[in-house]
């Protein structure tokens, strides 16, 4: 069978040149959005702050070895509640542990949990939303009723309920109060809203002609979902993620603060504040500094997130 295999370029022919008009090259959604994001200087500045915080968090052991020369858990009882000095730029706590080192290590927990949780809940919410919207019918009903139920239980109660039972052995794995387990637990409790958003978007996309065309040339369901629906719902997911990081950092810090998150002696901004609560009369800087770190991280994440949303949200164009 000899079908004429006309290549795409032949079909398109030569682009029409308008006289005197500037030829503006076609731009993809991604490069256009990226250009808009780059244009927002305010947003990019706070994106930069976020990157700096992330670099500090990643290089925390180097920082502790070469800058402060102290480990976050090294105790020196002769030096408790030390004022700001060259040896302790931000002072020490009740056990003489260096506050700056602990804050730097705290960044690992907060930022790590922030980004990891968002990644996990996008994965869960995205898969549930796409499959519910794509298959429809009883599967959609089942998943969406489950989301309704999950969203009816207040997050903080759900988290108190789960985290107060830790450590919890599940088969060979023991779930503890560490950053990775906490990310998973928080993600499991908050993915519902993303699933709803994604499903809604899938419903508007799945009846378009290109999906029918792809199906008619024999694409499998999995391929349809991953190669054709996913790229179309990605903007919604980016928007959901952009404002999620700040919220998750706040939630995780709150969990640490009520004593159900990362446990001492591991330093996190939330549990440093919990600790400082007992020493109001000894040191005000212990109360103020970890909070400033949280605000800086969340503020940067929120402002950068806003810029990302403005740049990537197709509805705001």
């Amino acid at each position: 069978m000899a079908v004429d295999q006309t290549t795409i370029t032949q079909l398109e022919g030569t682009p029409v040149q308008y006289e005197g008009g500037l030829a503006r090259p076609a731009q993809s959604y991604w490069s256009e959005s990226w250009e808009r994001l780059r244009g927002s200087h305010f947003g990019m500045f706070f994106g930069g702050v976020l990157v700096v915080l992330a670099v500090i968090a990643i290089t925390a052991p180097l920082f502790s070895a070469f800058v402060t020369h102290l480990a976050p858990t090294s105790v020196n009882l002769n030096d408790s509640f030390a004022p700001f000095s060259r040896a302790h730029p931000l002072g020490t706590d009740e056990l003489g542990r260096d506050t700056l080192t602990r804050l730097v290590y705290g960044a690992r927990v907060s930022l790590g949990v922030g980004f990891l949780t968002v990644a996990i809940y996008l994965l869960i919410g995205g898969s549930v939303g796409i499959s519910a919207g794509f298959y429809g019918g009883w599967w959609d009903d089942l998943l969406m009723r489950f989301v309704d139920i999950l969203l009816a239980i207040p997050t903080i109660y759900l988290l108190i309920m789960i985290t107060s039972m830790l450590p919890l052995p599940i088969g060979p794995i023991i779930i503890r109060h560490d950053a990775f387990s906490l990310s998973t637990i928080i993600a499991i409790t908050v993915w519902g809203t993303v699933a709803r958003l994604v499903r809604g978007e899938v419903l508007t996309v799945k009846n378009r002609d290109f999906i029918l065309a792809t199906r008619s040339i024999g694409a499998s369901n999995l391929r349809l979902m991953l190669r054709h629906l996913l790229p179309n719902v990605l903007p919604v997911m980016i928007v959901a993620a952009s404002l999620g990081v700040g919220q998750i950092i706040l939630l995780e810090a709150a969990l640490d603060f009520i004593g159900l998150g990362v446990q001492p002696p591991t330093a996190s901004w939330g549990n440093m504040l919990l600790n400082a609560q007992s020493y109001f009369y000894h040191s005000t800087s212990l109360v103020i500094l970890p909070g400033i770190c949280i605000v800086l991280a969340v503020l940067s994440a929120n402002i950068f997130g806003n810029a990302v949303r403005d740049a990537f949200d197709p509805r705001l164009k």
Partner: protein, 323 residues
């Protein structure tokens, strides 16, 4: 028509209620198993006593049977008993719930009272220094952890004011331990936690009032009112403000489900004797049945709150009930 809509919404929320009980119960058993705090450690109990107690508690029944016992209790208004002191969960809830509601309602009222003027001023003086300052304040407002703000307020108004010999505010509890309980004493205890909780509402609602006001101010009827020669003050407050508040009602309605759970963290910082504080206290004592009862209760309130909000919208907006 409205009655039919309400009935439809109530029927639709029955599976959600059922699902909530299934999840909370399942989660409890997945995490705590059939653990009774301190039972195995009690030296006064012989091994056969332990088995007898566990049998009496129904912990050796198959899980579906345990669930059935628990949910048939729920249907009769019995939320179970505490594992630690044996008192009914519902009694603790009825002790604590008024405090929680008092805190949240005060915070919401404070939020409305402060955010609307802020939003209106921001909209009327768009682009001015004051407007930019409010904008900054509201972005900061959603970025500041409420529990840290709470600590700062305690540090200033309780610890430092006390140290400076100024009249200071109490930092915890709903009333003084000795000779407390009169209205003035309760209000002084309420000031700090309610301010903290209101802060987030103010941050969100003032932005919303501002943008809603800006939108209304550019409407044709506002121009018509001005063209008629109406004073700017009357235009602003009589025509623009009233209409710009309609969407805000929706936003405040969204807080209805969070009336009980919204202030949990603030309750914990200020030792406010509310439901959230109770849940944390009991969770730390491994009082699983109490935590289960509280979580289920709060989730049921969320479902009821959603239902109420839907009904109120349907009352306000006829398009919803005919959909």
């Amino acid at each position: 028509m409205l009655a039919r809509y309400v009935v439809r919404r109530v029927v639709a929320s029955i599976p959600v209620v059922f699902g909530v009980t299934l999840i909370t119960f399942g989660l409890l058993h997945a995490t705590s198993g059939a653990f009774v705090p301190g039972l195995e450690l009690n030296p006064n109990l012989r091994p056969e006593d332990i088995i007898r107690i566990r049998n009496n508690l129904g912990l050796n029944d198959p899980l579906p049977v345990q669930y059935w016992h628990w949910i048939s209790g729920l249907l009769h208004g019995d939320f179970g008993r505490s594992l630690v002191d044996g008192s009914p969960v519902l009694r603790h809830i009825s002790d604590r719930l008024p405090n929680t509601i008092e805190l949240t309602i005060t915070a919401i009222l404070l939020g409305i009272l402060i955010s609307i003027p802020l939003g209106v001023v921001g909209a009327l003086r768009r682009g001015s220094v004051i407007d930019n300052f409010f904008t900054f304040l509201s972005v900061a407002g959603v970025s500041i952890p409420s529990f840290w703000l709470a600590l700062l307020l305690i540090l200033l108004f309780s610890v430092s004011f006390h140290a400076w010999g100024l009249p200071w505010l109490p930092s915890g509890g709903a009333e003084s331990a000795f000779g407390g309980g009169d209205p003035i004493d309760r209000i002084t205890h309420l000031i700090l936690p309610a301010t903290c909780l209101a802060f987030v509402y103010i941050a969100i609602w003032s932005r919303f009032t501002r943008s809603s006001m800006l939108e209304v101010l550019s409407q044709d009827y506002v121009r018509t009112a001005r063209a008629k020669g109406m004073s700017e003050r009357r235009v602003t407050y009589l025509h623009a403000l009233r209409n710009s508040l309609v969407p805000l009602v929706t936003l405040i309605g969204l807080e209805l489900p969070g009336l009980v759970s919204g202030g949990a963290i603030i309750e914990i910082v200020f030792s406010w004797p509310g439901v959230g504080r109770l849940a944390l206290e009991r969770a730390l004592q491994y009082d699983y049945t109490m935590v289960l009862g509280l979580t289920t209760f709060v989730a049921l309130l969320v479902v009821v709150g959603n239902l109420l909000a839907d009904v109120i919208y349907a009352l306000l907006d006829p398009r919803i009930r005919y959909a």
